[in-house]
């Protein structure tokens, strides 16, 4: 029995499925659960396993390739790249992403998630980010 990183989607979610796949795989990449050199399953296989259209998976893989996370190869799926730390995005882009974070928080509140729960999740997330910054600084030195 093989266990390892897996991707989950919700077909009834308002978020497009290709975004869910890209977000899910990106999360695994950021967390280091997928290491450089590892292979992702071919587009057709992942589409079959998730019972979705091939183009949806292809779109998700293209997003990840554009962001520099993976390299796409014909019939061999995608290979995880050793992605270099990108330069900080432009001020406008940064504002856009932070705005998305605020909108997501607002959506959570609008859908009835208690504010305290959202705050504790954000604090946990902040703690995780801080922990990942310190080892990286040591590596850079």
């Amino acid at each position: 029995m093989t266990k390892g990183p897996s991707v989950s989607i919700d077909v009834n979610s308002p978020l497009p499925v290709y975004r869910q796949i890209a977000d899910s795989v990106r999360h695994l990449l950021v967390e280091g659960e997928l290491q450089p050199g590892e292979q992702l399953p071919p587009i057709r296989q992942l589409a079959l396993d998730l019972s979705i259209n091939f183009n949806t998976v292809a779109q998700a893989y293209r997003i990840l390739a554009d962001e520099g996370w993976v390299e796409l190869k014909r019939k061999r799926g995608a290979t995880v790249l050793n992605r270099r730390q990108p330069a900080a995005p432009a001020k406008a882009r940064r504002q856009q992403l932070l705005q998305r974070l605020r909108e997501l928080t607002a959506q959570l509140r609008a859908e009835g998630v208690p504010s305290r729960e959202i705050a504790s999740h954000l604090e946990a997330l902040a703690a995780e980010i801080k922990e990942s910054i310190i080892p990286r600084r040591i590596e850079e030195k």
């Binding site: 029995m1 093989t2 390892g4 919700d10 399953p41 071919p42 296989q45 396993d49 019972s51 259209n53």
Partner: protein, 344 residues
């Protein structure tokens, strides 16, 4: 009346009856007459009632068919006998399918709750291998190519019509066994793996069974057509071999199929006991897309082949346009062979 013909029909009827009788056992224990159920459902009173009702129809029809065939064989001419026996076989199949549809309808209320809208898939690339190796899979094609070469090498010694008839056997054998080999290969390498953390790396037991059934059928078709071609082209000249050659191959194939059915029954029981996770795994197909429990039609599923719900192996997703192309090609093949190969 030729006793040999009566025996052949008798064996075929009994075999069909046994196969139909075994249907409830010839599928993953997570599915029951084409509906996903809990693995405990199979041993419940409701399940027993459904199985009993289904089997009564099968036993009654098979018994009636056998009695009718024997009685008619004693009094009627061979031409009438053939028509009656073929009609009886059609009725046997029709009643079997109707009983299956009825059992599927009765099982629906006991279906497992519909799975949530979330789906998962493993990101670990699969390493699937052909059970038994590549040689086992290409064996039927090897047999047909060898027979084809033997027939071609005797072309100058044969009448044009005899040569055409012998080669027709080679073409039909190659296409039919090739089709089964192709389906077996697609089933292993190009189908859904089942669950996110389940059988990604290895072939599950039910898939292996499905694969071996297809390979067995491919050998059966190849051997029968090879024997017919060898007899037609007079490559086999021994009178005893000529008289019993095809019959013994047909009989051995039938016998082999019966042994397999019995073996799969025991195997299925063991599977149910040994691998509850395997039996409870989802095949990734919603119940409502299974018409009568054995026809899968889901336009939202990109799969070309999906695991069968009744029996082992794979079946077409009729919601995929390529399944229609494939079905049309299979139906057209005999006519194409008839009109192109025997044009003159």
């Amino acid at each position: 009346m030729n006793l040999l013909i009566i025996i052949v029909f008798f064996v075929l009827m009994v075999m069909t009856g046994v196969a139909m009788y075994s249907v409830p056992l010839l599928s993953r224990s997570g599915t029951f007459f084409g509906t996903t159920v809990s693995s405990e459902f199979r041993t419940s009173d409701d399940a027993r009632r459904i199985v009993s009702r289904y089997r009564q129809s099968v036993i009654f029809t098979t018994a009636a068919e056998i009695v009718a065939t024997v009685v008619i064989a004693l009094y009627l001419q061979i031409k009438v006998f053939a028509i009656v026996v073929i009609s009886a076989a059609v009725i046997q199949y029709a009643v079997g399918i109707a009983a299956l549809v009825d059992a599927n309808r009765r099982t629906r209320p006991f279906a497992r709750p519909k799975p949530s809208s979330s789906r998962s898939a493993s990101l670990v690339p699969q390493r699937r291998t052909l059970p038994g190796g590549t040689l086992l899979l290409v064996g039927p094609l090897f047999i047909m190519v060898s027979v084809g070469l033997m027939v071609v090498s005797r072309r100058t010694l044969l009448l044009a019509e005899t040569y055409k008839a012998a080669m027709a056997g080679v073409i039909v054998g190659t296409l039919s066994s090739g089709l089964l080999v192709a389906v077996a290969w697609i089933g292993v390498f190009r189908t859904r793996q089942g669950s996110a953390n389940g059988s990604a790396g290895t072939q599950s037991e039910s898939r292996k069974l499905g694969y071996f059934i297809l390979v067995f059928l491919a050998y059966g078709f190849a051997l029968q057509n090879a024997a017919l071609s060898l007899l037609t082209s007079n490559i086999v000249t021994n009178p005893t071999a000529r008289r019993f050659g095809v019959f013994s191959i047909v009989a051995l194939t039938v016998l082999g199929a019966m042994v397999c059915i019995v073996y799969f029954q025991f195997r299925a029981k063991k599977l149910a006991e040994l691998a509850p996770s395997e039996n409870n795994r989802s095949d990734g197909t919603p119940d409502e897309c299974w018409k009568w429990g054995f026809i899968y039609d889901n336009p939202n599923d990109p799969a070309f082949l999906v695991e069968k719900r009744i029996g082992y192996g794979w079946t077409l997703n009729m919601g995929n346009k390529w399944s229609w192309v494939f079905s049309a090609a299979i139906l057209a093949t005999p006519f194409v062979i008839r009109f192109l190969w025997f044009r003159n």
